[in-house]
């Protein structure tokens, strides 16, 4: 077992060391793969630690599956190794995070980047709306957890569900769960809003585009969530005023 692990590790390249997971690129049965490995945290009680890593790994796989089944792009899952808390998944080809994409646009066409970003905002809104209409909560909806992938020209669904040759892929579902309450959906949107406004200045207009298309993607019931969002914003403000 040890020798096996070592041989495989030789072929894996560490891409990112996150707070609770390492992201490697490698191959799975010859295909480009991302290997997400959750590791122990020394400060947690060992029993709690083990159950948390198992729980998050399961939660991630579950939400990936729920999203793909309703037509939201997520990476294919090739193998789940619960012994090592690893998920082997499709390496989304030629991709950058939405965060990087926005930063690039701000740099290259700072004058009108907001209008350039409109199609992306529409797609994000519609996608999150669709996800929430099926009661899937992402749990960490930031622009680093959304990828944009350049489609292969003659890919199986080229020309279909794309924006300007890009396709939006949701990732990092470790905090995801299923819940119908408007409160949980509102918090998801609030996290997205905070992420948007704090990392991408002057994007208030974009977030309202997101909300417009959220309503379209969600359908009946979206108004309840938007009302909750207002409430959560108020709470947020109070909290910062109190300190």
């Amino acid at each position: 077992m040890a020798a096996e692990g070592a041989a495989e590790r030789d072929q894996m390249v560490l891409l990112k060391q996150g707070a609770e997971a390492k992201i490697y690129s490698g191959t799975f049965m010859g295909r480009p793969a991302i290997i997400k490995e959750r590791f122990s945290k020394a400060y947690r009680h060992p029993d709690l630690d083990k159950s948390l890593t198992v729980q998050r790994t399961k939660a991630e796989v579950r939400s990936i599956m729920r999203c793909r089944m309703i037509g939201i792009c997520t990476p294919a899952v090739y193998f789940v190794d619960m012994e090592r808390h690893r998920i082997y998944m499709e390496h989304v080809a030629a991709s950058i995070t939405v965060r990087e994409y926005i930063a690039d646009l701000e740099r290259s066409c700072s004058a009108n980047h907001v209008s350039a970003l409109r199609p992306l905002a529409e797609k994000i809104g519609a996608t999150v709306g669709l996800m929430h209409s099926h009661n899937v909560i992402h749990g960490d909806l930031t622009t680093s957890n959304m990828l944009l992938s350049r489609l292969p020209k003659d890919g199986p669904d080229a020309g279909g569900d794309t924006l300007d040759g890009y396709r939006l892929v949701l990732i990092d579902f470790g905090l995801g769960y299923k819940e119908g309450l408007a409160e949980d959906k509102g918090v998801d949107l609030y996290v997205l809003e905070r992420a948007f406004l704090s990392t991408h200045p002057n994007t208030e207009a974009l977030f309202s585009v997101i909300l417009e298309h959220y309503k379209l993607g969600y359908g009946k019931g979206a108004a309840d969530v938007i009302n909750k969002l207002e409430e959560i914003r108020m709470r947020g403000r109070k909290r910062t005023m109190v300190g």
């Binding site: 096996e4 191959t27 049965m29 599956m65 792009c73 090739y78 569900d161 396709r167």
Partner: protein, 177 residues
């Protein structure tokens, strides 16, 4: 028209050999041999397979569960059949993904040590014609596959059928379809 052998990055001491046969006359006998454990291979129903990768995903999972002693079925090779299925019902998996005794085509799959595969010996028992694995595309019954794996059109707008299938195979312990 030959046996194809695949390596696995995770278990580099092992390999997976696959061969596809058509116009097979003796599936009934093969099944009996397999049941008594005389054939060291898995016999699959090729109409349920869209791509070789689907088999490799099932074999990898079988190897993994075998080595960490969490197999659900009796042997490594029967585990491959169970892993192909999106359901946790073992007999259902065998009925749908195992070769039927009245079938006329069969996929032989063997997981073996890196150095020594014996699928050619198993293949000698088959009275039929070995064909290229690319023939799978013609043999697979896409409509039946979509039905059994419960793959809807919404998903196929954002995924290939193959990705939809392997994702279900790998996640069936935590998700119900």
């Amino acid at each position: 028209m030959a046996i194809e052998t695949f390596q696995n990055e995770i278990f580099p001491d092992s390999a997976i050999s696959v061969a596809l046969f058509e116009s097979v006359a003796n599936c009934n006998d093969l099944k009996k041999l397999a049941m008594t454990g005389e054939l060291d291979a898995t016999l699959l129903n090729p109409s349920m397979i869209v791509d070789t990768f689907q088999i490799l995903v099932a074999c990898n999972k079988a190897l993994h569960l075998d080595r960490c002693k969490k197999r659900v079925t009796r042997t490594l090779h029967s585990e491959v059949i169970y892993n192909l299925s999106p359901s946790k019902n073992i007999s259902d998996a065998f009925r749908k993904f195992g070769m039927g005794d009245k079938d006329t085509s069969v996929l032989l799959v063997q997981i073996h040590s890196l150095r020594k595969g014996t699928l050619s010996e198993v293949a000698e028992h088959v009275q039929g014609e070995m064909v290229d694995l690319s023939r799978l595309q013609e043999v697979s019954d896409v409509n039946k596959i979509k039905k059994i794996y419960k793959v809807q059109e919404a998903e196929l707008r954002v995924s290939t059928l193959l990705d939809a299938i392997v994702s279900r195979m790998t996640s069936k312990e935590f998700v119900s379809f």
